[in-house]
Subunit: 320 residues, 4 copies
Amino acid sequence: MEPTSGHSGSNAACASCSTSPTSWPARSSPARLPTALRWHAARRPGGAIYCHPTAHIASEETNAPEFFTSGARLFRIDGAAGKIDPQKLADALAQPVYGVVHFPQPAAVSITQATECGTVYAPEEIAAIATSTHRHGLKLHMDGARFANALSFVGCSPAELSWKAGVDVLSLGATKNGVLSAEAVVFFDAGLAREFAFRSKRGGHLLSKMRLLSAQLDAYLADGLWLDNARHANAMARRLVAGLTPLKGTQLLYPVDANRDLRGPAGPHARRAAGCRRAVSSVAVGPAGRARLSPGHRLRHRSHRRRAFPVHRQVCVSNP
Amino acid sequence: MEPTSGHSGSNAACASCSTSPTSWPARSSPARLPTALRWHAARRPGGAIYCHPTAHIASEETNAPEFFTSGARLFRIDGAAGKIDPQKLADALAQPVYGVVHFPQPAAVSITQATECGTVYAPEEIAAIATSTHRHGLKLHMDGARFANALSFVGCSPAELSWKAGVDVLSLGATKNGVLSAEAVVFFDAGLAREFAFRSKRGGHLLSKMRLLSAQLDAYLADGLWLDNARHANAMARRLVAGLTPLKGTQLLYPVDANRDLRGPAGPHARRAAGCRRAVSSVAVGPAGRARLSPGHRLRHRSHRRRAFPVHRQVCVSNP
Amino acid sequence: MEPTSGHSGSNAACASCSTSPTSWPARSSPARLPTALRWHAARRPGGAIYCHPTAHIASEETNAPEFFTSGARLFRIDGAAGKIDPQKLADALAQPVYGVVHFPQPAAVSITQATECGTVYAPEEIAAIATSTHRHGLKLHMDGARFANALSFVGCSPAELSWKAGVDVLSLGATKNGVLSAEAVVFFDAGLAREFAFRSKRGGHLLSKMRLLSAQLDAYLADGLWLDNARHANAMARRLVAGLTPLKGTQLLYPVDANRDLRGPAGPHARRAAGCRRAVSSVAVGPAGRARLSPGHRLRHRSHRRRAFPVHRQVCVSNP
Amino acid sequence: MEPTSGHSGSNAACASCSTSPTSWPARSSPARLPTALRWHAARRPGGAIYCHPTAHIASEETNAPEFFTSGARLFRIDGAAGKIDPQKLADALAQPVYGVVHFPQPAAVSITQATECGTVYAPEEIAAIATSTHRHGLKLHMDGARFANALSFVGCSPAELSWKAGVDVLSLGATKNGVLSAEAVVFFDAGLAREFAFRSKRGGHLLSKMRLLSAQLDAYLADGLWLDNARHANAMARRLVAGLTPLKGTQLLYPVDANRDLRGPAGPHARRAAGCRRAVSSVAVGPAGRARLSPGHRLRHRSHRRRAFPVHRQVCVSNP
């Protein structure tokens, strides 16, 4: 599917994406990423989903993607700094598995924006991935848990960072950016959205009185609140980095494109892949914005540690 | 399992259930009913779950129970006024299917409290059901979406209406009684709870920042707020009935034990079973408590109609 | 879908169905019924499948249909002698559930030919069911575990008893009629078949060296062997009935349209529904064709009893 | 679990494994590998299964393991010549994911014997893997599609190559060694077998008249027929290698421990990992045992090519 042709004039709401994000045909949902993904993969039984090894769906979802898709399989496509390498993806998708009954059929590619490493895909990077994706008939999903942070970093319109670059479905995260337990899934091809409400309901993601949670999204998107929040968070990340980098023995693992509230690549498997067994420090910034650096701090799982809330201003550093 | 022995001293939190509901070992969750049920059924692959034909899980969940259990099957056990007939359940559970590979193995019984008809199981009615359930090794689940309303009607302790009567797992609904999108699942046998966190996560029901939603349950349970809300809702239901019953051609379908914000048996299948194709009126009470009766109103699905919120004070009436 | 238009000239193999069953576009498979059904239901997540209460998929498959469809739900449509009542089906399909997110969406109707009661749907009975089925966009599946026996009874062409009458997918059983562990699934709309190979493989139903099993179907269908076998089995059933009916206290439960090697309605749930708790006798005919009647024999599950093989010549009788 | 203690005297049938393979408590089944695996993983929802990247379950089953386990995830543990490296497995299993809700919980390790590269695990290699596996409470599954070939190569008893070395469940393949579509799953801990019959049935793997297929296993195991077949196949593989290796430009990819009827590492993903994009030749040996070498032959998928049957005598060679 050509992303633009799939987004033709018949879908008037999308046509105005470039100016107003509030006109997206979004379905509000507390549903997490898998809900969007499962639509894709379920169309082709035994489907294959391609993602980066550090992708949240590959490292921290307790197999939710597999569960919701009745058993799709994730294939890891590597690349620097948390981003899928377009050439490696093209090679993987060019494997002669199509129509061969022994292999899971390629169904979807999922990229995270901003990535789990705090880096951001530029529109042309997305387009390169979308080209391979659509050439083979797959759909491109964007896990936009921090889409606003990415948008703020790139400085383009939401449309340029999503459907205009070839994204078919966007999980529009809001929870990490000021909203309480409400997120949206944006389908840029209305045909893809048809089954979504049923899948949400069946997965227990149509909550009673959900409209009260969803109402937050109006305020979130109106007047650019979502971008203000993201801009501030990104600025705080840069400030933290500016304070940390002079410190002896501290080294940035990745460019700080956008704020991430995770330290290091997510998950123990990803950490091992990155060779940072114990080198990732935990950095928290208190309410007053003063950094409390814990050099040499062993990485324990965040769920054991994150007492304070919110911890918006963290960054990936290596402290050997 | 004897319900009391399964609730021995080793689980100290439960031992005090009879006096303080806040000491329940509850896991807060936005998870709907299926999440609790799937635990049960998943222990026995291809399991059978027994419930009333009007049960919410059987009439309005878009197969969520089947989805989460990877394909358990619901068997309908009839009974008057939305309650499972204990003898019919005993007969069904006595079928010689145990260990025979051709039949789904009985796994769980689910009752709703208050029922979808607005009636309430008395403790001894629950105990009769629990006896059959446990005799055959099944677990008893209570869909307590309106547990507080039932508690207020019966006037006993939470323990007497749950584990002391033989309930193994309670879905403690709070959303229909003043809480925003937070519910709890209470396991009275700690062993049953072990896998629950993983299943919740895998089903996308461990939301980011969920603790902010869960915090409501503290205020809800402290100082009896939950019972106050339920008592008021029940009183309003009785008031509505008192005003409606003198009206010519109006007839109560079921005793008004507790408030229900649904009209008639839930779902078209259940409505047909009850023979009330178009006889159920919609009754809404405005903010000032003044009833606006719509006699002869066709039953349309509530999702098309319920604009106003909240509509706490509705009741089942038949208006031919 | 109009059954005939779905079977257009582009699918040349089907066009000749009326004369030669061997030219069906069959995929050989050891796959049981659920494999065919799951295709249907999987198209609409949380789908509803309609079948008779005595249907094999509803009474003896240990939830295989639910498993393969990731949680479709079976709705029982009653009718005399094991056949779905077309009016009851039409009523059920006319329920206003379409597009309403709270209800499983109707996906498929499944009929068994010959039925689990040994009766046979006439072509016009199938057509009546197909009309309702297709009006609402569902697909009609025929569980043809004993399709040959039905064909022999009706005396029409395979096409007249399948796609010409509106059947979209036929599970063509051969195992009960002389073939060892090989069956075929016949899609009359080629578009429906596309995903089938992948689903079979994923379900473990693409066996290594399966072609050796599948080869039997050539001999089975060539020269009418399948019809010869079925004709003989039906004749033996009639002979048995002729010998049994004069016996005092013996009463036929259903007309003996075709041979069934099950006694009484299948499954304990179905037996109870038919009110024949212990009244169904077991009748086996030895190699010499001499009936050994066991009046008043309690019905035990066949898997405990059927030592001899084959037991082709049994019939439903009631012996109170 | 210590493999020997899990195989105590209470399981008398197993105690004699060392002398007579026919006394194994085997359940005959046409079920493929996933059926055994799904038992394991289903015990821990969202489970993790560890296997070699070339494992059949990881490369050619169209996600059947994920499907049957309702979404377990496969983690690839590398190692030379198709065998899991015990140290890498130990490292992976030592990751601090246990009890952390964000990660799939380790459930099972699966090894193939003989491996997909035609190599064979020695008993002490299995024991090294079993030690890590059991230390963390996982179960060890052996995909024994060519168990007989491995047994013939090692020259020990079936028990020494299975439960005595720590295997908990063995898929005993027979189809690649002379049996028609019948395999067995051997549980060395009887407790693990309890649910298996139900899972088989639910997956459509309890075929009608299956006993006729299963009967082959008697002849297969009696009098050592299975070992005779395997010995012959291995000898033919060695003979082929002896004839091929002198050929200019031909190079063995792996030691020829046992016969494999696949060429090169299975699956395109595995082939790429092994860096043998087009270097693997196809070699077939005709009925008279005369090799027809096709140097430089591109590897196409076997399903497109294997017309002749059987092709028992093939071997992995590289022909650049």
